[in-house]
C-alpha cells in the first residue's frame, strides 16, 4: 500500500512528506496546496497522465484524472478535455478529511505510475 518512502522522485517524495506533516498538525489548507503541487510535479514526471483514459464500460471513455477529488481544488472546466489539466481553487478553507482524500489519491497514483 502507498507510502511516501515508495516514491522514487525526491522532489515528489518531499512534497508527500510535507503534506503528511501538515495533516498531522491539522493544517488542512497547507496540505491541500502541497498536494496540488505534488500533482503538478507528477504531471511533469508522467505527462502521459494528462491524456490517460479509463473505460468504465464498453464504449464509454473517461479521463483518468477526472477521478481527482472535486473537493474545492478542482480542474478548470474543459482543461481535461484539452489534455491540459489546470487546477483552480474554488474555496479557501479545506477540512482534514478533504486533505486526506487528496493525499491518498495522489500518492497511490504516483506510486502506481512508478514516479
Amino acid at each position: 500500500m502507498p507510502r511516501p518512502d515508495q516514491v522514487q522522485d525526491p522532489e515528489l517524495r518531499n512534497l508527500f512528506e510535507q503534506a503528511q506533516g501538515s495533516m498531522k498538525s491539522g493544517l488542512a489548507n497547507d496540505a491541500v496546496q502541497t498536494l496540488v503541487d505534488a500533482l503538478h510535479r507528477l504531471l511533469e514526471l508522467k505527462p502521459e497522465l494528462a491524456s490517460e483514459q479509463l473505460e468504465p464500460r464498453p464504449g464509454w471513455k473517461m479521463h483518468f484524472l477526472s477521478r481527482w477529488p472535486q473537493l474545492g481544488a478542482n480542474f478548470v472546466k474543459g482543461s481535461l478535455d484539452k489534455n491540459e489539466p489546470e487546477i483552480e481553487f474554488v474555496k479557501e478553507n479545506f477540512a482534514l478529511s478533504e486533505a486526506i482524500t487528496y493525499y491518498e489519491f495522489t500518492l497511490e497514483t504516483a506510486i502506481k505510475r512508478g514516479a
Binding site: M1, Q20, K24, L54, G72, F94, T101, E104
Partner: protein, 414 residues
C-alpha cells in the same frame, strides 16, 4: 470474522405497472423485522441499515432510526448499526443525531453502532439542498461535534462553518461510553484510509476481493497504529465488507433463489448514482425494474441465467474505474451464494485475510422473504458456529496484537 445483515429495503415496482401494490412497503418493513429477529436468535452479530431519501425502488429506508428502535425491542444481542446516518446538517442536525443515537443506545442496552456518511446521489443532495462540493467537510464537522455532544456535560457549544449552536446539555447520554463505535461508509480505497486516520471503522461498500482486502487490512491497521488522529473519543478499529448472500440445498437452487437480486441492486444503484440518469429521474413515474429487465435482455447478467462463473473470468472483464467495478461486482460475483460448502469456502478466504466483519446483502431486488429466512437459518446453523469459534480463538488475538501499540481508548465491538 463476525457476520451481519445489510438492508437497503429495496422494493422494485411490479413489472409493467406504474406503482407498487398498496401493501408492498408494509410487507418489506415487517419482513425485515422477522429476518433480523431470526438472525439474532441464531447468533448473527450485526444488522446495518442505510439512510436514503427519495431513491424509489432502490431504497425505501429513509427513517432507519424507527426500524432500529423496533428491532431493539424484538432482539436481544445483535448489534444495531446505522449504515449510515447522513451527517450533513441539511439532512440531520448533529444535535438531533446525537440525541437519537443515545436514545437508541439506551433502548437497546448499549448495542448501537454509529455509522456515518455524506451521501452522493443528486436526488438526495438536491432534495435537501446539500452542496455537493462541501459534503465531505460537512460530514467531518458534524460527526466530530455529534461525538462531542455525547461526551460533554454540558456540550460547550460550537461556532462552525456549517452549523453553530450555543452551549446546551445534549441529553440523553448513550449507554456505551464514551459513545457508540464510530464507522464511516467507504466505497473507495481513499475513504478506508481516511477511516483509519480518523480512528473509525470502515464500512466497505466496494465489494472488495480477498486480495484487495489483505492489502488494505495491513495499511489500515498500520495507519491506526502510526498515523491516527481520532475524530471521536475512542477508536473503532474495524474493516467490514459487503457481499451478496443467498443459500440453497444445491447450488442451482441458491442461484434460482438469488434471482434478480444482485443484478437489480447494481442496476438501480448505478441508475441513481449516475448524474445523468439519477439527475433526470422523474419522481413517482419511472419504473426502474422495467428498465432493468429491458437492459438485462441485452446483457444477460441475471444470476440464474449466468450460473457460477470462475473468479478469474469475472476479474478479467472488470472495469478499471473503482465505482464502476463495485457495481459490476455487486451484480456478478455473488461471494456467498450457493450451498453450505461453497459459501463456507468462499468466506474462509476472507477470514484468512483477517476481515473483521462480513455483511450480507440478502434483501435485494425481487428476492423472496421465505428464501431469505431459509438462508439465514441455514447459515446460522451450519456455518456460523465454526467461524464464531475461530473468531474468539484466533482473530481476537490477531487484533490484540495489531492494536497493542495504540495509546488511545478503543471501543470496538469486534
Amino acid at each position: 470474522m463476525k457476520f451481519g445483515l445489510f438492508y437497503e429495503l429495496q422494493l422494485p415496482k411490479p413489472a409493467g405497472h406504474p406503482q407498487w401494490d398498496p401493501d408492498d412497503e408494509l410487507k418489506i418493513y415487517h419482513d425485515m423485522l422477522d429476518q433480523v429477529e431470526l438472525a439474532d436468535s441464531l447468533g448473527f452479530d450485526y444488522v446495518f441499515e442505510v439512510e436514503h431519501h427519495f431513491l424509489e425502488e432502490y431504497s425505501h429506508s429513509s427513517a432507519p432510526e424507527m426500524m432500529m428502535a423496533a428491532l431493539s425491542q424484538r432482539t436481544k444481542n445483535i448489534r444495531l448499526g446505522h449504515g449510515i446516518v447522513l451527517m450533513p446538517p441539511g439532512y440531520n442536525h448533529p444535535a438531533r443525531v446525537a440525541e437519537r443515537i443515545a436514545a437508541l443506545d439506551l433502548l437497546s442496552n448499549g448495542r448501537v453502532e454509529f455509522g456515518t456518511g455524506e451521501s452522493a446521489s443528486t436526488m438526495e443532495l438536491g432534495g435537501f439542498e446539500v452542496d455537493r462540493a462541501d459534503k465531505k467537510a460537512m460530514w467531518e464537522e458534524c460527526t466530530r461535534e455529534a461525538a462531542n455532544m455525547m461526551v460533554q456535560t454540558p456540550y460547550q457549544g460550537y461556532q462552525g462553518q456549517f452549523f453553530s449552536m450555543p452551549p446546551r446539555n445534549v441529553i440523553p447520554k448513550p449507554r456505551q461510553t464514551p459513545h457508540p463505535p464510530l464507522w464511516v461508509a467507504a466505497s473507495r480505497r481513499e475513504t478506508t484510509m481516511l477511516a483509519a486516520r480518523f480512528g473509525m471503522g470502515s464500512l466497505g461498500f466496494g465489494f472488495e476481493t480477498p486480495e484487495e482486502l489483505s492489502e488494505r487490512t495491513d495499511e489500515y491497521y498500520r495507519i491506526i497504529r502510526e498515523e491516527c488522529y481520532p475524530i471521536g473519543h475512542a477508536i473503532n478499529a474495524g474493516l467490514a465488507v459487503l457481499t451478496t448472500f443467498m443459500m440453497g440445498k444445491t447450488d442451482e437452487e441458491a442461484l434460482e433463489r438469488s434471482a434478480n437480486g444482485p443484478a437489480f441492486f447494481s442496476h438501480s444503484l448505478g441508475y441513481y448514482y449516475n448524474p445523468i440518469t439519477g439527475g433526470k429521474h422523474q419522481p413517482g413515474e419511472k419504473n426502474i425494474y422495467d428498465s432493468f429487465l429491458e437492459a438485462n435482455k441485452k446483457q444477460n447478467t441475471l444470476s440464474a441465467a449466468t450460473g457460477f462463473v470462475k473468479e478469474e473470468d469475472i476479474r478479467k472483464d472488470e472495469p478499471d474505474e473503482e465505482v464502476q467495478r463495485a457495481l459490476y461486482r455487486a451484480a456478478r460475483s455473488g461471494t456467498a451464494v450457493g450451498t453450505v460448502d461453497r459459501v463456507r469456502d468462499m468466506l474462509k478466504t476472507y477470514e484468512d485475510n483477517h476481515l473483521d466483519v462480513m455483511i450480507f446483502v440478502a434483501q435485494c431486488g425481487d428476492r423472496k422473504h421465505e428464501h431469505i429466512m431459509e438462508s439465514i437459518e441455514l447459515f446460522g446453523k451450519e456455518i456460523l458456529p465454526e467461524f464464531k469459534e475461530r473468531h474468539e480463538r484466533d482473530h481476537t488475538a490477531w487484533r490484540a496484537e495489531q492494536l497493542a501499540p495504540v495509546d488511545f481508548p478503543i471501543n470496538s465491538s469486534i
